[in-house]
C-alpha cells in the first residue's frame, strides 16, 4: 500500500529530479473527485475515466505552471514549490467538493478470509490481495514501460542528464508533461485503494509523510527500492509497535519508520537501491 504512493514519488524524482511533496494531495484530490462524481450519479467507469482525464490534465498543468519556470533551480527550491502546491491542491479539492468525508465501496470485501485465518492464523482480506495485485501490475507495467518503450528510454535519459538528453534531440517538455500525467494516474490508483480502505477524507494527504521513509530506505530513484522499502517499513513498524511499543508507552509508529530509515542512511547514504552518490569539487 505504501509502495503505491511511494511509486508516484519515485516516478517523478527519476525523471525530473523533483521530490514531489504534493503527491499526497494529488491522491486526495483524485479520490475526492472520483467519489463525488460517483455520488452525483455518474456511472462508475465513466467517473473513473473523467477522474483520470482530470488527473492527467492536472499533472500536466502543474508541470507547466509550477515546474517549467523553475527548471535548473536547486532541488531544494523545487521541493519547497511542491509544498506550496500541496496547499493549493488541498484548498482546491475542498473548495470544489466540500470537506465532508465519503465512503468508497469498490465492491471488494475487506474482511479477513475465514479459511485462511483458521488454517494459518494469518489475517488477509480479499482487499489485501486485490491491492497487492494492483500494485504488482502497476509496477510491472511501469518497469516495462521504463525499460522497453521509446518514451521510457527517453525518460531515463532525461533523468540522467537533461541537458545531454536535450542535446540528442529528446523533446524535454513533452517528456516532463508525460511524467506528471503518469504521476496523476498513479495518484488516482493510490487514492482509490486508500479511499476504499479508510474512507475518502482529508487525512489521505498524510500518507505522503508515511511514504517518505519508504523512499529513503529504498532510494529515491529506484522502483524496486520503493517496493522493497515499503515491505520492510510496513512490517517492521507494525512489529515494533506490538513488541517494543508496550515497553515504552506505545505510539512509536509515528517515528519508528523514520528512525529505521535514518539508521540505515548512516550506513548507506544513498538508500538500498539508489545510485551511488559521488562527490566532486
Amino acid at each position: 500500500m505504501y509502495s503505491l504512493v511511494a511509486l508516484g514519488f519515485v516516478l517523478i524524482y527519476k525523471a525530473s529530479g523533483v521530490f514531489n511533496f504534493a503527491q499526497g494531495a494529488m491522491v486526495f484530490f483524485a479520490a475526492l473527485t472520483f467519489v463525488s462524481l460517483v455520488e452525483r450519479g455518474v456511472n462508475f467507469w465513466l467517473a473513473l475515466l473523467i477522474t483520470l482525464a482530470v488527473m492527467v490534465v492536472l499533472g500536466m498543468a502543474i508541470e507547466k505552471v509550477v515546474l517549467r519556470p523553475l527548471v535548473n533551480q536547486p532541488p531544494i527550491t523545487l521541493f519547497m514549490a511542491t509544498i506550496g502546491l500541496t496547499f493549493v491542491l488541498e484548498g482546491l479539492s475542498q473548495l470544489a467538493w466540500g470537506s465532508q468525508p465519503h465512503g468508497l465501496d469498490l465492491g471488494i470485501k475487506d474482511v479477513p478470509m475465514e479459511w485462511l485465518a483458521q488454517s494459518t492464523g494469518m489475517f488477509i482480506s480479499q482487499f489485501d490481495l486485490f491491492a497487492s495485485g494492483i500494485a504488482a501490475v502497476l509496477v510491472a507495467s511501469l518497469a516495462l514501460f521504463f525499460q522497453y518503450t521509446r518514451i521510457g528510454r527517453a525518460l531515463r535519459a532525461v533523468a540522467d542528464d537533461h541537458q545531454a538528453a536535450q542535446a540528442v534531440g529528446i523533446p524535454l517538455k513533452n517528456i516532463w508533461a508525460i511524467v506528471w500525467a503518469v504521476a496523476g494516474f498513479v495518484a488516482l490508483v493510490a487514492g482509490l485503494m486508500w479511499g476504499a480502505r479508510n474512507g475518502v477524507q482529508y487525512a489521505l494527504t498524510f500518507i505522503a509523510l508515511k511514504a517518505l521513509p519508504v523512499l529513503i530506505l529504498g532510494g529515491f530513484d529506484s522502483v524496486l527500492g520503493a517496493i522493497v522499502g515499503g515491505l520492510i517499513i510496513g512490517a517492521s513498524e507494525k512489529l515494533a509497535e506490538v513488541y517494543i511499543g508496550p515497553m515504552v508507552g506505545g505510539g512509536i509508529e509515528s517515528w519508528f519508520a523514520y528512525v529505521i530509515a535514518l539508521l540505515f542512511l548512516l550506513v548507506r547514504p544513498q538508500g538500498l537501491f539508489g545510485e551511488k552518490i559521488i562527490d566532486r569539487v
Binding site: F19, V66, P69, L70, Q73, P75, I76, T77, F79, M80, A81, I83, G84, L85, T86, F87, V88, L89, E90, G91, L92, Q94, L95, G98, S99, L209, L212, P213, L215, I216, F220, V248, G249, G251, I252, S254, W255, Y258, V259, A261, L262, L265, L266, P269, G271, D279, R280, V281
Partner: protein, 358 residues
C-alpha cells in the same frame, strides 16, 4: 540623495568593521529599535501586541534560527518545531524545578538543551545531505514530540500533556501585561538578532557559507566539517529553543506538544523562503508576511462581503486562503527566489543612485 555613503571615510579598522558600516543604516536601525521599544508599547492596542507583534517577534527568532542552519550553512531542516518544543518544555521544567534560577537563565538553559538535541540529530548530516537529511530531521520532529508526550517528567505528569507556563518575573518585576511581555520578547529577540548578525560576519559564519556553497571544497581548504556542521545545528537549535520558550511564556501561556507539529516547521520554512534565504533581515520580513497574510486575507474577504452585500460561504473563504497561501509561495519561488530581503537590497541600490540613476 538621502541614502548616500559619499563622504563617510573609515580611518580605523574598527570603523571599517562595524556591523552597519553605512551611517544611514545605523540611524535607521537605531530609529527602528527606538520605535519598537518606545512608540509601539505606547500606542499599539492589545490586539496588536498580543496577537500580532509578539508572535511576529517569536517566529522571526525561530526563522532566524532556521536561516542560520538552512540559509547560511545549507542544511535543510524540517525539525524546527521540534527544537522549539524542546525549548518550551525545558524552560517550563527549569522554572518549575529550579525556581531560584530566574527566568532568563532558564530560557538560556532551555535553548542549550535544544542545542544538545540539535547536535544529536545533526550527526547524520555528516554522512548524508540534501533530501535525505531533510527526512532525517523529520525523524527528529516526530521523535521529539513523541518523547515529550510519553515522558511524564517533562510535562510534570499532567494527564493531558498540556503545561501552563508560570509567571514571568525578573528581579521582582512581573511581566504580565501584553506591553511588558512584548518588551521582554523584543529585548531578547533584538539581542539575539544582533548576535546572529555579528556571528555571520565572523570566521564561523564564513565557514558556514563555505560549507553551504560546496562542502567538499570547504573541507579541502581546511574547514573542519564536523565542527562546522554541528555548530550550525547547535546555534540554530539554540535560537529555535529560545523562540519556543518565548512562545510558551510570552505568547500562548500554555503549550501542548501538538502545538509543535510539522505544520509549524513548514510555516517557518516558508518564512525564510519568502523573506530571503541567508539573510537576517529576511527572517523578519518573512515572519511578518506569513503571520499577517492569513489575517489580512480573512479581513479582506470580510470587508469584501460587507461592501458587496454578498454572502460568501465561509468554507469557500477558508479554502481560498489556503490556495492563495500556496500560490504565493510558488509565485515567490518562481519570481523572486531570494525573497523579500532581495527586494529590499535592490531598493537600497536604487536609493543609492537616486535621483541620478546614471
Amino acid at each position: 540623495m538621502l541614502y548616500r555613503e559619499a563622504g563617510q571615510f573609515k580611518s580605523t579598522y574598527a570603523e571599517d568593521q562595524q556591523i552597519f558600516p553605512i551611517r544611514q543604516d545605523r540611524v535607521a536601525v537605531a530609529l527602528l529599535l527606538a520605535v519598537a521599544f518606545v512608540a509601539v508599547p505606547l500606542f499599539a492596542n492589545q490586539y496588536w501586541l498580543s496577537a500580532i507583534l509578539i508572535p511576529f517577534l517569536i517566529f522571526s527568532l525561530a526563522a532566524l534560527g532556521l536561516n542560520i542552519l538552512t540559509g547560511y550553512a545549507g542544511q535543510l531542516s524540517l525539525g524546527t518545531a521540534a527544537f522549539m518544543a524542546v525549548g518550551a518544555f525545558m524552560a517550563y521544567n527549569f522554572v518549575l524545578r529550579m525556581p531560584w534560577l530566574g527566568v532568563i537563565p532558564s530560557f538560556i538553559l532551555a535553548g542549550l538543551c535544544a542545542a544538545g538535541v540539535g547536535i544529536v540529530f545533526g550527526l547524520p548530516s555528516l554522512r548524508i545531505k540534501g533530501f535525505y537529511l531533510a527526512v532525517a530531521t523529520l525523524a527528529c520532529q516526530f521523535f521529539v514530540l513523541w518523547a515529550i508526550q510519553r515522558w511524564g517528567w517533562i510535562t510534570n505528569n499532567s494527564p493531558s500533556g498540556v503545561i501552563a507556563a508560570q509567571k514571568v518575573e525578573i528581579l521582582g518585576y512581573v511581566f504580565d501585561t501584553p506591553q511588558r511581555k512584548y518588551l521582554l520578547t523584543l529585548s531578547i529577540v533584538a539581542v539575539l538578532a544582533l548576535l546572529a548578525k555579528n556571528l555571520m560576519r565572523s570566521e564561523t559564519g564564513r565557514a558556514f557559507m563555505a560549507v553551504r556553497d560546496m562542502d567538499v571544497a570547504a573541507s579541502v581548504i581546511g574547514i573542519p566539517m564536523m565542527k562546522t556542521k554541528l555548530l550550525a545545528f547547535a546555534i540554530s537549535s539554540f535560537y529555535c529553543g529560545v523562540a519556543g520558550a518565548l512562545y510558551a511564556y510570552t505568547y500562548l501561556g500554555t503549550v501542548e506538544p501538538e502545538a509543535f507539529t510539522l505544520d509549524l516547521s513548514f510555516r517557518i520554512l516558508f518564512m525564510i523562503i519568502i523573506g530571503g534565504v541567508g539573510s537576517i533581515l529576511g527572517s523578519f520580513l518573512g515572519a511578518g508576511f506569513i503571520i499577517l497574510l492569513p489575517i489580512f486575507l480573512s479581513i479582506l474577504f470580510g470587508a469584501l462581503s460587507h461592501a458587496t452585500g454578498m454572502q460568501i460561504p465561509h468554507s469557500v473563504i477558508s479554502n481560498l486562503e489556503l490556495i492563495i497561501f500556496g500560490g504565493l509561495i510558488i509565485f515567490f519561488l518562481i519570481v523572486e527566489p531570494h525573497g523579500l530581503a532581495r527586494q529590499w537590497q535592490i531598493a537600497k541600490e536604487k536609493l543609492r543612485l537616486w535621483p541620478f540613476p546614471h
